[in-house]
Amino acid sequence: MQTALSIAVDALAYGMALFIICIGLSLTMGLMRVVNLAHGAFAMIGGYIASYAARDLGLGYAFGIVLAMIGTVLIAVPLERLLYRRIYDRSELSQVLMTIGITFCVIGITNYFFGPTLKTIPLPAELARSVDLGFRGIAGHRLFVIASGLVVAGGLWFLIERTGFGIHLRAAVENAPMARALGIRTEIIYAASFALAIGLAAFGGVVGAEFLPIEPYYALRYMVTFLVVVSVGGAGSIPGALAACLLLGAIDVTARYLVPDFGNFFFYLAVILVVCAFPRGLMGRAQ
């Protein structure tokens, strides 16, 4: 029982870390219909910036997160204008290829400037401490990740369902020409949501670094995981992404406990079964 509880806590933390990173991708894929395989690359850039700020400049964790989000968005916005804008209405194949290309470039450049070593992001004392849950110790950082995940989910839901920006965004997604006719500047909406998605990626890259360590191949190593999680959840659905992350996180963590020698076997088996059963994802939007 205690073991089950303990695994559940680990699964929850891992799932939430995945969620924070992936939700931005879910938004770009579901709302803007771009298969952005470079999403992980942006999470990685965030991680590098945070590591540089917090470790090399000694600015602290919180400041590192803020800098990472701002810095990554600043890098991403020109890319959106120059590259992404041209593939919004292209085929999935084109989108996949271009974003793989961007990922390769980011990896190559990162490798060139920062070297191939792992980068850590030093945690503040409060988060590094082990918190006693009664049945086991858990790193304070994991609790922070779980809380952040809940805040991100709630905040996004509110933003999209309850604010003017959300209404404009949904209008632009449903029918761009009509939205433009109504005076909504769709390109600004798109750029803003892209920036939001990238900012979340950077945030996820930083807070998730304890699970998915930051190194140049991060972008490629977890590319598949992120894509898979989003598809299982159903692109564009916040509850779907949350459900997928928690489900797949739980399967992954449990399998690693019970049958560690099988690696990701059961993770991908679950993915195949879920996608076959729900081709549009757990809570995908009907087309």
Binding site: D10, P116, L212, V253
Partner: protein, 397 residues
Amino acid sequence: MTKGFLNRWLPAGALALAGALTLGASAMADTIKVGIIGPFSGPFALQGKNFQAGAEAWLAQNGKSVAGHDIELVYRDLPTANPQQARALAQELIVRDKVQYLGGVYFTPDAMAITPLLKQGNVPLVIFNAATSAIMTSSPLVVRTSFTLSQTTTPLGKAAVERGVKKFVSIVSDYGPGVDAEGAFKKAIEAAGGEVKEAIRIPLNTTEFSPIMQRIRDAGAEGVFAFLPSGPPTLGFVKAFSDTGLKKAGVKLFAPGDLTQESDLPALGEAAAGLITSFHYAVSHESEINKRFVAAGEKAIGAPDLLSFPAVGAYDGLFVISKMIAATAGKQDAEKAVEAVKGLGWESPRGPVKIDPETRHITQTIYLREVAKDAQGRWINKEIASVPEQKDSGLTK
């Protein structure tokens, strides 16, 4: 227009391509080429850089010419374990670049793919790293200057029991060296009076270890033996060990030195403090020859933090190759070259070493080390005990 373009550029392009492909085929008369295969890009690029740094450090100290023959190093990149590409690269080095010696090789599968070529190519292979015992049996033309897992692991058994830790969980990556490590540790700990209660093998690419930590907790072990190849996995493992409170609960972690490679230590920091590892080389090893090696190596690699054990394998590898060249007077004769270094002993930056004439693997001192800070506040592997003249027990059994 198109035609003119093609006419003008196609021959030029073909020439360039031909030139690039046959680069170096027109070698000068008295240059001996040594092909070095290693991960110079990709996730393991740091290890490849260490190969390069070690080799260049040796050349910088000893000059580029041996007994009147110039040495030219030809590097070939093999980013990850990829036996197919390894074979293709080795084949090319032998056939096209006409190398007389092969060196390097980080991963076991790559070494296994290369060894069948050696006899036909009349080329010895000096392995700088790949650490599975069985490689040595696959060809008589292989010499190894690195270590094997059974070699580095065996002393841990006695050391653990001496510290009162007897009940172990063993965790290794599921590949050749991991299996070697698991076997050697089991044997060593049982010989010393302890036991391995549970042996877990995990895939190479694992980075999230909380569930494994839970397994350790549930097994009620006093100690953990762990082997993972250096890189992202080791970092996650050591962190998880500390984060989940196992370290605080008094569970002791013992591991071969791969887990605390010097280049990872800054990142591991406090989480690794006090960790006991056993290994053949620590950058902080106290000796005059090591100081000179480290100085040359750090210069070659560019940053002091990055130097670690693969460099010393390469450094000694070049030494062995230089002896081979001297013994064969620059002629290509793989058998004679290998024969000449059997039993060869010398003082390496890691301490006294010798090529075991039977296994062609290096016999060396294995050190017990503890992760601690040095006088400058840098994290180092501090040597606390040494076991001299360790052979590869994985082969002699």
